[in-house]
């Protein structure tokens, strides 16, 4: 497949960029933060996104989506990265809809996908338990009983968890922490008895929740995918999730870089603009090169998701590792090159390094994905 956006994709990218720049610029995130907004994103904006079909972009048509694929979703997330727009695009559209599409039964798909595609429901994956992303270390349990399963465990970094209607809980139904086998996924109503959700305001002014499950009874029909064999579907879901985060990191890095280049052309010291100093020029040129590599890798990986390429896992880890590394470098340089003003809260550049750090960590950071990429490459 040609590594280039077609006309339709280019149009989607342009219209997303225009919409987000107008309706949800960085100042909108600042306003949500400063007003300590209860939802953490604008419900009105989310409705408008839904009218444009964004929540259903990767959902099959038979379930109310527009089946435009992951390249399309990636383009939207990239633009949302440029504006640091807060919305359930990551939690619900990128992750939860993928898990349900990939693993769900006909009934589960019918119940959830049209509602997600219409922007009516927020669903979030409850996976991480410790300080680091490590799916096979899952210790939360689901014990079978005559009514279905009883869930117990503690989860963190549940994106938009405080407003989620439903949680996709990863739990152990067999084996020990460390085993890939014995992992199962469950659709759990957030209002179910025994579920407590604690909102956590994160460094990027977005929201994630800590979720505690105490003797939560779910029916047998809550099981998403096969019993004990959830690792495969979870792994696929995480590949897609990391691709989407890589696309978002691409957008935010590109934006931080462009803002920094503008600053280098304006700011004068010693009687000249600081962009004329070779000490800054060479660093800028190196970052430009790295961002071009990132753009190619993200597109290649997104295409592999749409074509069902067997290299998807390696490409997803490659993209997430590379984008985590480059986003960290670019956002650090953005603060450094802006000098004192880059350290002030009043100036927007700080929002980029904050969001980058959370997106880097979510579903596995540079270290995790470089290790995984090496393992998948045979060493």
């Amino acid at each position: 497949m040609a590594l280039v956006l077609n006309e339709e994709q280019q149009m989607l990218k342009d219209s997303a960029a225009g919409f987000l720049a107008e309706k949800a610029p960085v100042s909108a995130l600042r306003a949500l933060r400063d007003s300590e907004d209860a939802t953490g994103y604008s419900a009105d904006l989310w409705r408008e996104m839904a009218e444009m079909g964004w929540p259903g972009i990767a959902v099959p048509e038979e379930f109310g989506g527009i089946d435009y694929g992951y390249v399309g979703l990636g383009l939207i997330l990239e633009q949302a990265g440029r504006t640091l727009t807060a919305s359930p695009l990551q939690s619900t559209v990128l992750v939860a809809a993928t898990a349900i599409s990939h693993m769900g039964s006909q009934a589960q798909k019918e119940q959830w996908l049209p509602a997600i595609a219409a922007g009516e429901k927020v669903v979030s994956l409850a996976l991480q338990e410790g300080a680091h992303h490590a799916p096979e270390q899952t210790a939360a349990t689901a014990a079978a009983n005559d009514q279905g399963f009883v869930l117990n465990g503690e989860k963190v970094l549940v994106l938009d968890g405080h407003v989620a209607d439903c949680l996709i809980v990863v739990a152990r139904t067999a084996g020990e922490p460390g085993d890939e086998h014995g992992i199962s996924l469950f659709l759990v109503d957030s209002n179910a008895s025994g579920v407590s959700v604690a909102r956590r305001s994160m460094v990027d002014s977005r929201n994630a929740a800590a979720v505690s499950l105490k003797d939560v009874q779910v029916g047998a029909d809550a099981l998403l995918g096969d019993l004990n064999e959830g690792s495969g579907g979870l792994s696929y879901t995480l590949d897609i999730a990391n691709l989407g985060l890589a696309a978002e990191l691409l957008g935010l890095s590109q934006e931080a870089f462009e803002r920094t280049m503008e600053y280098l052309k304006e700011r004068k010291q010693f009687g000249v603009v600081i962009g004329s100093f070779q000490g800054l020029k060479h660093r800028a040129a190196e970052m430009f090169a790295e961002l071009e590599l990132c753009r190619s890798l993200v597109l290649k990986a997104l295409q592999s998701a749409d074509t069902g390429d067997e290299n998807l896992p390696a490409l997803a880890s490659a993209a997430k590792a590379k984008l985590s590394q480059v986003a960290q470098r670019v956002t650090n340089e953005a603060v450094q090159m802006h000098g004192g003003i880059g350290m002030t809260d009043e100036f927007d550049i700080g929002f980029f390094i904050k969001r980058a750090r959370v997106a880097q960590h979510t579903f596995g950071d540079y270290n995790y994905h470089l290790d995984r990429y090496a393992r998948l490459s045979g060493f």
Partner: protein
């Protein structure tokens, strides 16, 4: 059958019939490749057979126009030819600076007589060319070159010295930057001359490199008479041609960064260094570096593909192409450093069969020149900062 499928079938049959068996293996480095020229001394007679066969169809320069001896193939046909050659492992029939560097400039800037005179001989591998660009005091600052060409009526009188002239001692002709005028800025007054290396007053002296080989020469011009007809383009406008040609040279060098197929460095490392119980390379620092290298190679390859695909889709040559020389060379240097780290003692021997005559350390040392030749790493970064990012001088 579609036209292109018919072309594929004919090409396959022809290659099958005309490519000698010994030419269906990759050349072992620059020295083992066939370069043609008046003094061609092929290590294997099949090299000339293969070159002549391909040249008879214009396929040594398959995309050049037929009227100048080229193959006249369009992009689709060119792709098919490359695929069919790759299918049988056929090596390139002719290595040539005439094809990779001078030819494109000659097609764009040369007059009709010059094209007719030189292009067919390049295609047939009859004349081997070298490039007279750098001088002892004009390296990164190429435009400050001082080799003089005085107007003597029907000819120029050339005096001066070039350095880093690739294979000047083996070349038949040179394309050379000279100064015809000193009155303007340094970029003005440069002219582009073509002349015979057998001319009286031309001498060459090979330079031995840290790798032990001598691919470059010092080249001296002492009252060399060059006919006026050998001026390419306008007098004093040679810098434009020089820059155009440099972009072709940089494309060629940046290709060094694309690693070949076959076993990856990481897999080789796993075999030599060993793995732990989880299958991970035992040396975790080396493992990190190799993984990062493979990841960057993957992303660089994707970038070359993307830029090519964008150009094919009519989106023009993107700004990303400016990074090829810089990034490709850095990757190649990293690859050689890691290769030595993986191979350990086996990559330290310099001579003898046991060490394959030091091929590995020699290639490692040679790669250090990648970020110097054709514009240094630092010059490339300056170009990106200025032309792409718009940062001021």
């Amino acid at each position: 059958m579609s036209e292109i499928e018919q072309f594929r079938e004919e090409t396959r049959e022809w290659l099958e019939a005309n490519c000698p068996a010994s030419m269906r293996t990759p050349a072992r480095g620059e020295e083992d490749a066939y370069w043609g020229g008046r003094n061609a001394n092929p290590a294997n007679p099949d090299q000339k057979v293969w070159c002549d066969a391909m040249a008879s169809r214009g396929w040594t320069a398959p995309h050049w126009p037929k009227e100048f001896g080229g193959g006249g193939l369009d992009k689709e046909q060119l792709k098919v030819l490359r695929q069919e050659m790759a299918r049988i492992g056929a090596r390139s029939p002719l290595e040539s600076f005439g094809i990779s560097m001078l030819g494109p400039a000659l097609l764009k800037f040369g007059n009709e007589e010059q094209k007719q005179e030189h292009l067919p001989k390049i295609v047939r591998g009859e004349i081997r060319w070298c490039q007279g660009y750098s001088e002892p005091n004009a390296g990164s600052d190429l435009a400050s070159l001082q080799t003089r060409a005085e107007d003597k009526g029907d000819h120029y009188l050339v005096n001066g010295q070039k350095i880093w002239t690739s294979y000047a001692d083996k070349a038949d002709w040179i394309f050379c930057l000279v100064r015809t005028d000193n009155s303007g800025t340094k970029h003005e007054g440069i002219s582009f001359l073509l002349f015979d290396m057998a001319s009286e007053g031309v001498t060459t002296r090979p330079i031995k490199l840290i790798s032990g080989s001598s691919p470059f020469c010092e080249t001296f011009f002492d009252n060399v008479e060059v006919p006026k007809a050998n001026l390419m383009g306008e007098e004093g406008k040679g810098w434009t041609i020089a820059k155009y040609l440099l972009t072709h040279e940089r494309e060629m060098i940046s290709g060094f960064g694309v690693s070949g197929s076959g076993r990856s460095l990481g897999q080789t490392a796993a075999e030599i260094v060993g793995t732990d119980a989880t299958g991970r390379l035992r040396d975790s620092a080396l493992r990190h570096d190799v993984a990062q290298f493979q990841l960057d190679s993957l992303a660089f390859g994707a970038t070359m593909q993307r830029v090519g695909d964008e150009a094919k889709a009519g989106q023009g040559l993107g700004a990303a192409s400016s990074i090829f020389k810089y990034y490709g060379c850095e990757l190649n240097k990293r690859r050689h450093e890691l290769n030595l780290a993986v191979q350990g003692e086996a990559a330290l021997g310099w001579d003898g069969e046991l060490y394959n005559n030091g091929a590995m350390p020699r290639a490692w040392l040679r790669s250090k020149g990648n970020s110097i030749e054709g514009g240094t790493l630092e010059v490339q970064l300056n170009i990106i900062a200025k032309r792409v990012l718009g940062l001021p001088d």
